[in-house]
Amino acid sequence: MGKVILSNVKKSFGRVEVLHDINLEIKKNEFTVFVGPSGCGKSTLLRLIAGLEDVTEGQILIDDMDVTMLRPAKRKVAMVFQSYALYPHMTVYENMSFALRRTKYPKEEIHRRVMDAAEVLQVTHLLDRQPKQLSGGQRQRVAIGRAIIRDPKVFLFDEPLSNLDASLRVKMRMRIAKLKEKLNTTMIYVTHDQVEAMTLADKIVVMNSGNIEQVGSPLELYHHPRNKFVAGFIGSPKMNFIKVSVTALKNDVVTLSLPHDRSLKLPVALPKTMQDMGPGSSAELGIRPEHLIVCDAASSLLTGCIQTVEHLGSELYVYVRIADDQNILVRVPGDKNFKVGDTLHLKALPSDCHLFHPKSTISFERFSSVSHG
């Protein structure tokens, strides 16, 4: 249950518009992640859906019902906060049953629901404790328990894992993934961590300065980022961007000139808005660090001197200077032995190359839609 539709939603604080005309449809039982840098409006959007902030313009529908003007409690949504926001003076049991005690549920029903939720989240042995006697992970589980007990149509998570330490975060991430299978409810999850987004989401919504940049499945965003922002945000380590210029463009094949007088031919489908591209215009070539392949000088696209080598055990991050003001990062297996000062020759499959239009700084339109091999 829980189809969410946002249509033309705008939000201003005073004179500052923080969300510009958001249109989004979240299908029922879909796990949607809002991701973006801090200040992009993702938490505000979540709070609009929860009803904690009023929409300045536009409409929010949950299960085809207009909830734009409805009080939060009437929207059948539940929210898990970053700081857990448990009631400090109540026991775990009282915390979890608080919402139901506001309604006219019979006591036995409330008890049954608390016990069920406690079992799902494995907090049954903690029911008599107060929040201050719990660890961070336990508090988070209780907070989730307090949300699921109300049987909401939509779950909202506001950066629920960012207060936990790294190892606990991985554990809780798996728990949430399991919970999603078990509950079969629409979930909307806000995070700035693209790893959380990639691992949990059915659908990722990438946001930047109050706009939705792209909506799609994790792999869609990884392989077909629509613009440079999404390309740079999704994937870790970040995609390399190399300044290139177009030397020829015909029959849907673009020829690019790379540093050191090399050239690369890429098949492209030129969108209408990109018609101004032609011989002489500049562009940016995007290649992910994991898609660069070490090769011999003859077949290489890029060549440079190694600046830094970072050993991560299983793999190496090698920073290579391919032109005077251009460093790129290459990810290679950990058993390779590279030293600072060595010369490295690199290539990439044409299908792993992305080309971005140079015009605007934020929204470089994807120039080619190269299908991934």
Binding site: V77, M79, A85, P88
Partner: protein, 275 residues
């Protein structure tokens, strides 16, 4: 580590402060145990223990009644004041509305009024409400003294409570009253105890309103009763009795402070650090 010299001055300074603050009370205790002409000698230690003064104050006037009056008035003031202040602090601390800071400033400026300035107006008000020579009149007028600072302190505490807790309660379907009294009130206990105690002390010690708004000795509160104590002739001031009475009315305050001591300390520091 402090050097020996620094420690010497630290202890010396502490000693001076302790003597200055405790000596008047000690003097009262010593004097209350003296009788007759002993009162006019300067003894730092009592030679005889005359409990006569303590018995007399209850015999010669309705002092027991006066103490009960004070207790009733102070308790009433605290209860009404706190319940009003909590609701006001919730609105002023958590609800955004136009003119909020103006209202807060007005409340603060009310607490700046000298008592004498409002005395005559208050007298008229109390008489027209039919509360003259009545404990409700005192409770009512003490609100003017205690409400501004209780509202201010509680508003400050209310603002420090995390917003997420309120929002979680809103999503859980709690009304404003539920949030205020079921969620915030329990979290405000230390602040309530602190402000409540301050209000209690203010009401317990208040003299001017109590003198003006009561007429019968039965209706008087303790400070007025003590001030109006007379001896056998109108030229004699019964120092022994006055001192005994002062000691008797100070003890409840000290007991209260000791009982709530832990709460006060945590109240004064709560919210200073993330807990």
């Amino acid at each position: 580590m402090l050097t020996r010299k620094a420690r010497f001055f630290l202890y010396l300074g502490s000693l001076i402060i302790v003597i200055v603050s405790l000596f008047p009370f000690y003097w009262a205790v010593v004097s209350s145990l003296k009788s007759g002409s002993e009162l006019f000698r300067t003894d730092f230690f009592p030679s005889t223990f005359a409990w006569k003064n303590y018995v007399q104050i209850f015999k010669e006037q309705p002092f027991g009644r006066n103490i009960l009056n004070s207790l009733g008035v102070a308790t009433g003031t605290v209860l009404i004041c706190l319940s009003l202040a909590v609701s006001a602090a919730y609105a002023l601390g958590r609800v955004h509305f136009k003119g909020r800071s103006l209202l807060l400033m007005t409340i603060l400026s009310v607490s700046m009024f000298p008592q004498v300035a409002v005395l005559s107006g208050m007298f008229e008000l109390i008489r027209s409400l039919g509360l003259y020579n009545n404990h409700f009149g005192l409770v009512f007028s003490y609100m003017v003294l205690t409400l501004p600072f209780t509202i201010w302190i509680l508003t400050t505490f209310m603002r420090q409570l995390p917003k997420e807790i309120e929002e979680a309660a809103i999503l859980d379907g709690a009304s404003s009253a539920t949030i205020c009294f079921r969620i915030f009130l329990p979290l405000l206990w230390p602040a309530l105890v602190t402000t409540g105690l301050l209000a209690f002390i203010a009401a317990w010690n208040e003299f001017l309103f109590a003198l003006t708004f009561t007429v019968e000795s039965k209706a008087r509160t303790v400070p007025v009763a003590i001030a109006l104590m007379t001896g056998a002739s109108e030229y004699e001031l019964p120092w022994g009795n006055i001192m005994a009475a002062s000691v008797v009315v100070t003890v409840p305050l000290i007991v209260l402070v000791l009982i709530f001591q832990k709460r006060i300390v945590s109240g004064l520091t709560a919210g200073a650090v993330k807990g």
